[in-house]
């Protein structure tokens, strides 16, 4: 039986020669992302912003403007309503009084009492300003720590050029993910943060596979030109890179389309992250080694890890 091959068994694409194209592309995207972040910022979820969120549903499509009028009459402050997943489901957001958690809780009670007769209250989240502040700093700390841990691990297992190259690629992926969330104004909450940390792990995983082959080839072909050697390494691992990306994307697409509204943002972030992570391993991390330069004499290390 002939097996399915997404990538021919022997490729010789010249990735390195085209590195300026990918560098430019990334630079443009990251700049656009940074501009968006600076101008419109992130659409922070209540985890990070504080406030109140109520998910309610009923058997028939919800008349949002009627519901808005009804809730405005309750005098609970500024009410935002949007449909969630389907027409029967709505998300109600209250900016609320950010200083006073008790007021927010009272508003929830009022809304719940009013809606309970005609709606099923599916979810209520109230996050005080103190907690959201802590979640932001914990999130920044987690991502920084994760990247630092990768930096140290790769340094330890490879050389500093590899460590720096992979971390630049990682930071690129994290920045690109935050950028797309700002650009599309998708809600950024703690599950997106979890996705970013997973992307950090996944992207590193991908980069390590390419770097591992680079290291192996550095030992094998002591005289080969570095850019040629990098191209060879990327091409040799190309089939694996695509197959793994495809299986991961298959699982993630299932999650994105079938996993329900609550997990939608997470699945989107992961899909994007796997895409960007794969791209950066090939087009950013590997070419970076050419710029950073690598140690060519690995003879002392052969016994240690082979």
């Amino acid at each position: 039986m002939k097996s399915l091959r997404l990538v021919p068994s022997k490729t010789s694409v010249n990735f390195i020669k085209r590195r300026y194209i990918s560098f430019c592309l990334s630079l443009i995207f990251l700049s656009v992302g940074a501009f968006s972040l600076a101008t419109q910022g992130l659409n922070l979820g209540i985890d990070f912003k504080g406030g109140t969120l109520i998910e309610a549903s009923q058997e028939e499509p919800v008349d949002i403007s009627a519901l808005r009028n009804r809730l405005n009459e309750l005098g609970v402050g500024d009410v935002q309503i949007q449909s969630f997943g389907n027409e029967n489901d709505v998300l109600i957001r209250l900016a609320g009084d950010s200083e006073n958690a008790a007021e927010n809780l009272k508003a929830v009670e009022t809304i719940r009492a009013d809606l309970e007769s005609s709606f099923e209250i599916r979810r209520v989240e109230v996050v005080g300003p103190q907690i959201s502040g802590e979640l932001i700093s914990a999130g920044i700390l987690a991502v920084t720590l994760a990247i630092a841990a990768m930096l140290i691990y790769i340094w330890f297992r490879f050389e500093w050029q590899f460590s720096l190259g992979s971390v630049i690629a990682l930071t690129h992926d994290v920045a690109a993910t935050i950028g797309i969330f700002s650009l599309l104004q998708l809600e950024f909450n703690t599950s997106i943060l979890a996705a970013i940390l997973t992307i950090v792990g996944y992207s590193m995983n991908d980069t390590v596979v390419v770097y591992d082959r680079v290291r192996e080839n550095l030992r094998k072909y002591k005289k080969m030109d570095l850019s040629e050697l990098l191209d060879l390494s990327i091409n040799e691992t190309l089939s694996r890179t695509t197959v793994t990306s495809v299986t991961t994307l298959l699982a993630l697409f299932a999650l994105f389309f079938l996993g329900g509204e609550v997990i939608h943002g997470f699945a989107f972030a992961m899909l994007w992250g796997v895409f960007v992570g794969t791209y950066s391993s090939i087009f950013i991390a590997a070419p970076l080694l050419l710029i950073l330069g690598v140690k060519r004499d690995w003879s002392g290390n052969i016994k240690q890890s082979d």
Partner: protein, 538 residues
């Protein structure tokens, strides 16, 4: 790489057997699960609040109020002691979180210091049960006979710890009254308490029960002056307090500052009905000291009203008709059945030592939880099938080996999660789905390597052997990085996110085992059955 010793084979079989054993209870009906013999594991995956529905509340104990209360007590202690020793002072008052005063006569300063030192008790360390070496107060002598008193760091920590522990105890009693299964009540950080109550149909009631301090006191009403007049002029006599009812409009009451009987003396409270009007009321009973005190006060104050004060609000202010000597009484205040019931619960459980505020609430209804389980399950099945089909198409027979490993991988993940009694959350399910996609990576690495070796003209056996041994380093490096990310996520994440980190980490470990050890075992067996000059279907 292709040789497996008997011990190794036994080890592999044992790991799979244990995985099966621990995951089986998840597939049994509740009856069958509970009737399993004791030596078999019967633990099941716990569903997180986001999957089974329930309330998650993060509360903060206002320890500052305890400190303020203690400072007030300190002021009155100092006043009493200095008066007893006839030491003159001025400006005894609360300044920020400290008490300040000035000794009038410099010659009495030494005498005053002795008094202050006597007031300064060592900190009682609740953990060691004994008396610690640290003093409770910090006493600073400033210029011109001025002194400043504050609480020492140790004293504040010890008191906060005690306050939070007492609060947890009270909360537990209140939540237990709701009759839900397995609530989680635990301390978080220094002054916070996490309450998780699964499967609750009325989260507002939980909040109402936890949001109240439930400090009940009985005071005599001050009849020397009109409460309305005091409320309008803002002038309240020294020995009195101005309090209001919780009604709209609120009625002011002027009550004696001195507590007639404190709610701490209550031993029991229950909901009942007023025999004449039939409206709900709360019946309570005092302990012997409280009952005696209540009897004495009511005996001497017949015809006067007294006020029942709950958390600084007047519930009711009945007139004492006759001496109440039996040590029991009742509170009527136009309650609904639910309100009377809840007040009885609060009184039975006791008052919180300090007020609490709700910092965070996350409530998921049972409908959403069930939907999430269904959606998560569907995504898992479809993702799983897609990956399996893709692997079979890509690597033929070897793809099937990888698929068998993937199925066992799922069993192992479930087994480990059940054995750890871990909580499965929606992000946790996402972690498993993601693992399905990423788990085959190790096999992909190996198979691609084998293909390369074959393309380089190696004989089948050598190609397989080299494929496995050369891919190992890569597999380990690649997975350690993801594992590092998962560990950091676990350390810093909260609730559902932690569930994700746990499944991701477990998935990584089981993936490496199933992909590297198990498929290698399958491949080795297969090659052996085929002889050495086999053509690899990869």
């Amino acid at each position: 790489m292709l040789h497996f010793s008997k011990y190794k084979i036994t080890g592999i079989a044992l790991a799979i057997f244990l995985g099966l054993l621990f995951s089986v209870p998840n597939f049994l009906s509740e009856d069958a699960r509970l009737s399993l013999p004791a030596f078999l594991p019967s633990g099941k995956l716990n569903l997180g609040l986001d999957l089974q529905g329930g309330s998650h509340l993060l509360l903060e104990v206002d320890t500052g109020s305890i400190t303020r209360e203690r400072l007030e007590t300190l002021i009155s202690d100092i006043r009493i002691e200095l008066r007893a020793k006839s030491i003159g002072y001025t400006g005894l008052s609360l300044v920020k979180n400290a008490v300040e005063l000035t000794i009038r006569d410099e010659s009495q300063i030494d005498e005053a210091i002795v008094v202050f030192d006597d007031l300064n008790q060592p900190v009682v360390n609740s953990l060691l049960g004994g008396v610690g070496g640290n003093a409770e107060l910090t006493i600073e002598a400033l210029d011109d006979g001025k002194f400043r008193f504050g609480f020492s760091e140790q004293a504040i920590i010890a008191r906060n710890t005690k306050t939070v522990q007492q609060s947890i105890e009270i909360i537990r009693r209140r939540v237990d009254e709701l009759g839900t299964t397995e609530p989680v009540i635990q301390r978080q950080g220094n002054t916070r308490i996490l309450v998780q109550v699964p499967g609750l149909n009325d989260p507002e009631r939980l909040k109402a029960l936890l949001g109240q301090t439930a400090k009940l006191n009985f005071h005599l009403v001050d009849q020397n002056r009109s409460a309305y007049e005091a409320a309008n002029s803002g002038r309240v006599p020294a020995g009195s307090l101005l309090v209001y009812t919780d009604t709209d409009p609120a009625t002011p009451y002027l009550i004696q500052r001195r507590v007639m009987v404190s709610g701490e003396r209550l031993v029991d409270a229950s909901m009942g009905f007023d025999p004449t009007t039939g409206s709900p009321e709360v019946d309570f009973r005092f302990d012997s000291i409280g009952g005696k005190k209540f009897g004495e006060v009511t005996k001497t104050n017949i015809g006067r009203p007294f006020a029942i004060i709950l958390d600084n609000k007047v519930i009711s202010a009945p007139v004492i008709q006759s001496a109440i000597l039996g040590g029991s009484g009742r509170i009527t205040g136009g309650f609904s059945v639910q309100e009377a019931n809840d007040l009885a619960i609060l009184l039975r459980a006791g008052a919180l030592p300090a007020p609490m505020s709700i910092l965070e609430e996350r409530t998921v209804g049972p409908g959403l939880g069930a939907d999430s389980v269904a959606a998560g399950r569907l995504a898992l099945i479809i993702g799983f099938v897609a990956v399996i089909v893709f692997m079979a198409l890509s690597y033929n027979l070897f793809g099937l080996f990888a698929n068998a490993a993937l199925i066992i991988n799922m069993i192992l993940i479930m087994g480990v999660l059940s054995a750890l009694q871990a909580t499965l959350t929606l992000p946790g399910i996402a972690g498993i789905v993601l693992t399905v996609g990423m788990a085959v990576d190790a096999n992909v690495l190996i198979f691609e390597r084998i293909r390369e070796e074959i393309a380089a003209g190696q004989p089948a056996l050598v190609a397989v052997d080299k494929g496995y041994s050369r891919a190992l380093g890569t597999i380990l490096d690649a997975n350690v990085t993801t594992l590092l990310a998962a560990i950091i996520l676990f350390q810093l994440g909260s609730g559902p996110i932690r569930g994700f980190a746990v499944t991701l980490a477990i998935g990584i470990v089981t993936s490496v085992f199933t992909a590297f050890v198990l498929t290698r075992f399958f491949v080795a067996r297969w090659i052996r059955s085929r002889g050495r000059s086999v053509e690899l279907p990869i």
